[in-house]
Symmetry: C2
Subunit: 339 residues, 2 copies
């Protein structure tokens, strides 16, 4: 038998623990063309909240009620009925919140990971979706240049902390924003020029003081009050890569909203802002992974990790991400006790 | 003596006729380095509303009370105290709402216009700011490609009508939006594939029906209800060049707004939208004017003109632009009876 986390109820707003259930089911048998995977590490990411809605956007479908949640996992192949895949090999793919999975070897996004040079968890962090997203946001979309100033929201999270370090490597001044003095200290320890606590009173004033010359890039990871404090500090022609919205995932498909546009759109026009939503996988440069690997090897990027033991604790950890838990960096669930 | 239009009161919201005054003043004498201009044609453009606020955005200053309004004018040089400028030559520049002006020959944006090939009014239309803005929005920012679908707001206005025609030249399907059946008929006569009347009931449904396959570009000229109807019709990764906001110029510097962000920002993220404010002069391609000139010469772009006789009628015509007047295309004030 194996355990998996399934969607019990569709969350209203932020997810709650009762929206999830841990169940025991038989370990599946691989069919022809499939591989049987033993999960080692499960990645917890804010974007997963989107898939918990029935219709996340337009016509797309969310996770069915009763089905395992979607999520990136590093696994070991333990049986293979697919050419080119052998037991003992390591793969990474969105194979879900479960201890074992039988999936098609042609599952979109599934890739082999080499053992040895880096920890396997990097396939879900610096050398995985967060790394590619940070690279795409900072380089492809943000087009950061030496001497520019970057305001980095969500600076203690996986994408934000990596994106800020990439900005530093490329010669920018990077001002982070995170929640609380401990997270800010961790962000500054990564080499950010400053980190402003959005939970402190006078946050907007402190941010403005840290960006005296205005900024060329605002990297959007959170939305809400942080966005409102950052946008007025941007220079004419600034870029705003829109990676995600911790504060907005739970909002549902509300459309542009009846009265939401005027102020922001006016600012877009008058400041010549370029605001661009992106998904790392779609727009990352072809050399993104190679570049991240070389920076990681040289010790120029670091990703803090918070490890959650046991799949049974995954729902609580996921819920905590939306409730401002103190964890920083990449949240990883250890699926196998021996890794 | 000469006449000029000055700002009498700062408009609250949309401009009203009482905000302006027509006064008689002496024709100025050019100082060394200056040229004396006799105005021929004055351009009326929505963006001029911005300069009527005390602080249009951030630190910039608007037109002082009692001073002539800013505006693009085609003029004849009638006296010159500047090297390289001779009486009889034609120039275009933002020399203001007045019959004569003495300006520095180094006024930013001032340029000589050749007589002969095209009407002098084209320097304020197809071969001036509106043409450059349309070119920049459609090509530099919008990156239109053959086979794509473009939704063009403000399609009967100067920029919108030109931008839509440029889209057609480059092989796109272009769906215009304008106010009323007469304007829509004029837009369709310019070669747009369709034009939807935003004043009609069921406007949003009609627009959706005209864009069955979703669109790659929404060209933003207006804001408000038109924007709300257009954004949901965009494809993943669509571009939104933000040229201007007829409905928002009068809004004042409201900032991004306390609750304005969530819906739009969520859509930007999930649809990977690229929303970019721009000013034609800053981002037009180096070959923009040459390309516009060749299209104009080949009869492939046309710009409808509405001529207002006499500078005394300029305030009423400007006020009408914000009140949904029936005029289409480029509004021009004839400053000299003999042109």
């Amino acid at each position: 038998m194996m355990r998996q986390v399934v969607l019990k109820a569709r969350p209203q707003g932020n997810p709650r623990i009762g929206d999830f259930a841990v169940e025991e089911v038989p370990i599946p048998e691989p069919k022809p063309g499939e591989i049987l995977l033993r999960g080692l590490w499960l990645s917890l990411d804010p974007y997963m909240r989107l898939g918990l809605d029935e219709k996340p956007m337009g016509g797309s479908n969310g996770v069915p009620l009763g089905a395992p949640l979607i999520g990136g996992v590093v696994s070991e192949i333990i049986a293979s009925k697919a050419d080119g895949f052998s037991p003992g090999e390591i793969v990474e793919g969105r194979t879900g919140w479960r201890e074992y999975a039988a999936v098609s070897a042609t599952l979109p996004g599934l890739r082999k990971i080499k053992r040895g040079k880096f920890s396997l968890t990097t396939a879900l962090g610096s050398l995985g979706m967060p790394g590619q997203t940070a690279h795409a946001g900072m380089i492809t979309v943000g087009r950061v240049k030496a001497g520019e100033t970057v305001i980095m929201s969500g600076a203690s999270g996986a994408v934000g902390s990596l994106a800020g370090q990439i900005g530093k490597i490329l010669g920018a001044r990077v001002v982070g924003i995170a929640g609380g003095p401990e997270k800010c200290a961790a962000v500054e320890a990564l080499g950010f020029d400053a980190c402003i606590d959005y939970k402190a009173p006078d946050f907007a004033k402190a941010l403005a003081a840290a960006v005296p010359e205005s900024a060329e890039i605002y990297f959007e990871n959170v939305g809400g009050a942080v966005t409102r404090a950052a946008l007025p500090l941007l220079k004419y022609g600034a870029r705003v890569p829109v990676c995600g919205f911790m504060s907005l995932y739970a909002l549902g498909d509300v459309g542009p909203g009846p009265d939401h546009l005027p102020g922001l759109m006016r600012m877009i026009m008058l400041k010549g802002l370029e605001i661009r939503g992106f998904s790392g996988a779609f727009v990352a440069a072809p050399n993104a992974l190679a570049e991240l690997e070389s920076w990681l090897g040289e010790g120029r990027i670091k990703l803090l990790e918070t490890v959650i033991e046991d799949i049974a604790n995954a729902p609580a950890a996921f819920v905590g991400m939306f409730a401002g838990s103190a964890d920083t960096g990449k949240r990883l669930v250890r699926l196998a006790a021996d890794v």
